[in-house]
């Protein structure tokens, strides 16, 4: 059976069916992302006064990497330009040009996802340490300390797992349930409990020095010492930099990476950007399919392929438009 109105416009709508379909779908997408943007606004407006991280519920500012976010925005804008150029090339009957533009679009899409993954990894290795006296600091663990800790912890875990494997083999013969093996630790998602399991007494951190970017417009960051050698914050204590600090775990209430359970901001940030990332991935797969497998349809039904590319381009533009709103909301404001 032939699908009607894939090329010719339907008389009552004046459009081919797929175009009506994609706009109905995009209307539902507007509601989905609209609900998330509304949630973001309500969460932010409802956040109690106080500035991250000293007040756990205070809304964090400037934790995201603006240059990387800006670069990713430029990548998506470039991809929108090339997708529309690919469609125009099909309209002009030039399949080779279409393929070139489309492959560039797909490269842009995967570059965006690669950069986003890098940003996510940065967050998973960035920590907030809350002290029992109510104060808190953010930062990374010192590289040397961390590698020493991980080597020691994972060697101990390997030794324990060797014993567990032997015990599990015996348990299997006796028909008993095996015990779960210990997983290796990495520099991501570390917690106070994980340090406790390895009997660590203190951790060495590279603490973030508050910069103006971490505070709302008009708000000045607190003083961080004179920045001189031998002062509490050492020689690299200028705003935006780091200073070394040894933190005794006996004084610590919790250690948490920048993950959704750590703060409301991260929960909504990861929800929105991950959902957007899934849309980028879906769009890239469809566009890639047209680029690499569209030749057959181009020879059989060129107008139908052109319309399909237009529909996919409309979806791609929507996904990029969502980012145009998402970027200032989560990175800048």
């Amino acid at each position: 059976m032939e699908i009607p109105y894939t090329v010719k416009p339907r008389p009552d709508t004046g459009l081919y069916n797929a175009k009506v379909g994609i706009w109905l779908f995009l209307a539902s997408e507007v509601m989905l992302f609209g609900a998330l943007f509304s949630s973001y606004i309500l969460l932010r407006v409802g956040a109690p006064d106080g500035f991250w991280p000293d007040v756990s519920t205070g809304w964090p500012h400037g934790l995201l990497n603006i240059p990387i976010g800006t670069f990713n925005t430029a990548v998506l804008i470039a991809s929108s330009v090339t997708v529309v150029m690919a469609w125009a090339a099909l309209k002009a009957g030039n399949f080779a040009k279409f393929k070139g533009f489309m492959i560039f679009t797909v490269i842009c899409a995967f570059s965006f996802l690669g950069i986003k993954s890098y940003e996510y990894n940065e967050k998973f290795t960035h920590y907030v340490v809350r002290m029992k006296d109510g104060t808190a600091v953010t930062g990374h663990f010192d590289h040397e300390f961390l590698h020493g800790f991980l080597d020691k912890a994972n060697t101990r875990r390997d030794q324990k797992n060797a014993g567990l494997r032997e015990a599990n083999a015996k348990a299997k013969q006796e028909g008993k349930a095996p015990k779960e093996l210990l997983s290796h630790l990495s520099n991501r998602f570390l917690t106070l409990e994980k340090f406790g399991e390895e009997n660590v007494e203190s951790v060495k951190m590279l603490v973030d020095v508050p910069s103006a970017f971490r505070y709302p417009v008009g708000m000045k960051p607190p003083a961080v010492g004179d920045g001189s050698k031998g002062s509490e914050h050492g020689e690299h204590a200028e705003p935006g930099g780091h200073f070394e600090k040894e933190v005794k775990l006996a004084d610590v209430q919790s250690i948490a990476a920048f993950i959704p359970s750590t703060a409301t901001f991260f929960a909504i940030y990861f929800t929105m950007t991950a959902l957007h990332g899934l849309h980028v991935l879906g769009g890239a797969l469809v566009l890639g399919y047209f680029a690499f497998f569209g030749r057959k349809m181009w020879h059989q039904e060129p107008e139908r392929l052109t319309n399909r590319v237009e529909v996919a381009g409309l979806f791609w533009h929507f996904v990029d438009l969502v980012w145009i709103f998402l970027f200032p909301v989560v990175y800048l404001l």
Binding site: F213, P328, L332
Partner: protein
């Protein structure tokens, strides 16, 4: 609405974002005195201008394609 029309909407949003970023970076420059922010501000302004120029080129190139 065709891809041509939606692309124009997208371009307008992109120009507005670039202008906002230019203002944002200039504000940061005024607050912190960080010259890198001033450079970012100028680059963003230039990006906005480039997008407007591209928009004109795009309209000329696709003038025979419908907005519907």
């Amino acid at each position: 609405m065709s891809l041509k029309s939606f692309h124009l909407v997208f371009l307008i949003a992109s120009v507005l974002l670039a202008l906002f970023l230019a203002v944002f970076c200039f504000d940061q420059f005024q607050q912190t005195g960080d010259r890198v922010q001033l450079v970012w501000s100028m680059v963003s302004g230039l990006a906005a201008f480039t997008l407007v120029v591209y928009g004109r080129y795009f309209l000329r190139k696709l003038k025979h394609i419908s907005y519907l």
